[in-house]
């Protein structure tokens, strides 16, 4: 199944902005960041389809995962 991964800020370096990848059913955001070589502590905000996501949740075909390092402002 296909999952779209959107990366932001420093996480783009060497990886790109948007990746569409085929994964086995049952893949989780946790497995995806491992696959991308992103250390867990660099994931500050994780969204699945724009809503708060969980590293352990099972993803579905067509899901969009957005990953941000620690950033903020105001």
């Amino acid at each position: 199944m296909e999952v779209k991964i959107r990366l932001f800020a420093t996480l783009r370096e060497g990886r790109g902005k948007v990746l569409s990848k085929d994964f086995e059913a049952g893949v989780t955001p946790g497995l995806i960041i491992e696959d991308l070589g992103i250390p867990e502590e660099e994931v500050a905000i994780l969204l699945v389809n724009g809503r708060d996501g969980d590293l352990e949740q099972a993803l579905e075909d067509g899901d969009v995962v957005s990953i941000f390092p620690p950033v903020g402002g105001g």
């Binding site: 959107r6 724009g50 390092p69 620690p70 950033v71 903020g72 402002g73 105001g74």
Partner: protein, 596 residues
């Protein structure tokens, strides 16, 4: 006296006098400084029913005990006055270097009273204080005024000034310093303009004495380590500035588009912090002693200068439907030159665009300039017209509420207490809505930044759609912020520092014995004093609300689809926690408890 000089200037423009007065140390400690101390003086001296643009209103520029010390980001000052935009108490914060310089000159604050019969500026050089003619800079933009004055004042002076917008008493006029730093919100620049005061320049050579040098060194070391090791203050803000929020808020579907008609912007990537860093950033532009350095200095075509910030990018970008970063940088530049608040200016243009979209501007003088959502030309040209009060720009200069009201549709103004809302849709971020509704200066994000827990997960992650716990969090954020705004440090330090850190800093500088709870209590005292003033000024609790659109119209698409803000389910609990009674009025017990 430590942290404070114990001296302030009282400048009466009607009489043409400048006096040095003594500051009571106990009073200063109780109200901290900055926003707290300025508000206390203002409330004691000014009738809450005063016309904000009359000579009877006063304008106070006030530093905190940490301003001008070696504390990280200790360069801030507050402009306290009654707002002509909202009718509430106003306190607008600015960074840069002016605040620290005032402290070096030996003053904790200046109180400006009355009205000059011709344009003047005030020149301060340590003990020397002069009211000087400003007719040669009246009408000039911020950069030109600053550079002209620099030729006739002591070297290394810092210049705080208004632009043409302040002179013309635009209710969105800012007070500018170092050309691109702004005490931006609530129309404080119009108050300066109403007094015929163009600028205040300052140069000082004194040090701020602190109570315990050794202890302060230790506290600063600890805080600097926290700032460096925190992801937001150590990496995110230095690398991208505040603009990094564009993608975050947009991915959450809470980035208002076209005057809050929808909440996810297809063009976000073109106006993102990542793009700003890649294409337009020339260098970082930090304030006094700031290790974070979120400030940007950018260039496009022949225009270069400070900014733009996230809020500005959103106001001219998403909210006006514009995905052209170059145009946004130019609009930001013209706001600085005209001396306009970028949030209110961008969002008022957005409101005018909606009036136009709805066919309500047919008989108006648009001067051939487009006023359609998505027009890059519009955001730049209308900013200039607002600054000069040209054509429809004259009505727009008084903010979106008065503009929309003039066309019979005040509900199209996305404002609270007549001040425009910033860059977060409270339908998708429930607690931020409560914070907007109860902000003491009207629509504002920096009176209680609920984005921190609800979106960024700092200090812990709250469910942004949930209602429970939002009241206590909002209260704590508001009280905490009131203290930081009074201390002289930048609010952004709070991503890394907690209440006990500010207490330790305060103690080392002032020689007090405050703890983390004391920080929150001092903040709560300030928040309540502001509330009491607003009530006396005729701002009723019924105005603790949000625009109808945000309470009734569901977000049409995206991750926050189907939501409205459920303010009425959070507000009663908030009043109760504040000890304000069901009618929103501070109870006698709470006021006594806080020593009001």
């Amino acid at each position: 006296m430590y942290g404070y000089h114990g001296k302030y200037l009282r400048i009466n423009l009607t009489e043409g006098t400048c006096k040095v007065e003594n500051l009571d140390l106990e009073l200063a400690k109780k109200w901290v400084g900055g926003r707290g101390l300025g508000t206390k003086f203002f409330v004691d001296e000014v009738d809450p029913l005063v016309d904000a643009l009359s000579p009877e209103n006063k304008l106070i520029a006030v530093t905190g005990p940490m301003t001008g010390t070696t504390a990280p980001t200790g360069g801030r000052y507050m402009v306290v006055t009654k707002s002509p935009l909202t009718g509430t108490i106003a306190s607008s914060n600015s960074g840069g270097y002016w605040g620290a310089e005032l402290k070096f000159a030996g003053y904790d604050m200046i109180i400006v009273e009355g009205k000059s019969d011709k344009p003047v500026y005030v020149m301060i050089e340590d003990e020397k204080v002069e009211i000087r003619d400003a007719s040669h800079v009246w009408g000039k933009v911020t950069s030109d005024t600053t550079r002209t004055l620099m030729k006739e004042i002591p070297e290394k002076s810092r210049v705080m000034t208004i632009g043409p917008a302040g002179e013309k008493q635009s209710l969105m006029a800012a007070v500018m310093n170092e050309e691109s730093r702004a005490a931006g919100r609530s129309g404080v620049g119009a108050v300066m303009g109403s007094k015929n005061l163009k600028a205040v320049t300052v140069r000082g050579t004194k040090k701020v004495a602190v109570a315990n040098e050794e202890e302060l060194k230790e506290v600063i070391k600890t805080c600097n380590t926290k700032i460096r090791e925190n992801g937001v203050t150590g990496q995110g803000l230095p690398a991208y500035g505040t603009a990094v929020l564009v993608n975050i808020i947009n991915e959450n579907g809470a980035f208002p588009v076209n005057n809050f008609q929808s909440s996810q912007f297809p063009g976000a990537e073109n106006i993102s912090g990542e793009l700003l860093a890649e294409k337009y950033l020339v260098k970082k532009d930090p304030c006094y002693r700031c290790p974070i350095a979120c400030g940007r200095y950018t260039k496009v075509d022949d225009i270069e200068g400070g900014g733009p910030e996230y809020e500005t990018i959103w106001a001219f970008g998403g909210d006006c439907g514009v995905d052209d970063m170059g145009a946004i940088i130019k609009a930001n530049y013209w706001c600085n030159e005209m001396g306009l608040d970028t949030i209110s200016t961008g969002t008022t243009i957005a409101a005018a665009m909606e009036l136009n979209q709805k066919g309500l501007l047919k008989d108006e003088n648009l001067g051939g300039v487009p006023l359609e959502f998505g027009s890059a030309e519009a955001i730049v040209e209308w900013t200039k017209k607002i600054g000069m009060r040209e054509g429809l720009g004259d009505k727009m200069a008084d903010g979106s509420y008065r503009l929309c009201d003039a066309f019979g549709v005040p509900e199209l103004s996305m404002s609270v207490k007549k001040q425009e809302l910033p860059a977060y849709d409270p339908r998708g971020i429930q607690g931020q809505g409560l914070s907007y509704a109860t902000s003491n200066r009207g629509g504002c994000h920096v009176r209680g930044y609920m984005i921190s827990p609800e979106i960024l997960g700092l200090p812990e992650k709250l469910d942004r759609f949930a209602l429970e716990d939002k009241a206590p969090w909002t209260k704590i954020f508001q009280d905490f912020t009131a203290f930081i705004d009074s201390s002289g440090l930048c609010l952004f330090t709070s991503f890394a520092m907690g209440a006990p850190d500010y207490a330790a800093m305060f103690n080392a500088i002032v020689g007090a014995e405050l703890d983390g709870n004391g920080v929150l209590e001092a903040g709560e005292r300030i928040y309540n004093l502001e509330r009491v003033f607003n009530l006396a000024a005729g701002i009723t609790p019924a105005e603790d609300t949000l625009p109808k659109r945000l309470l009734e119209d569901e977000i049409p698409e995206g991750p926050s689809k189907g939501l409205v803000n459920q303010l009425s389910k959070m507000l009663p609990e908030y009043y109760e926690l504040r000890g304000w009674g069901t009618d929103g009025v501070p109870s006698k017990e709470r006021k006594d408890q806080l020593g009001l």
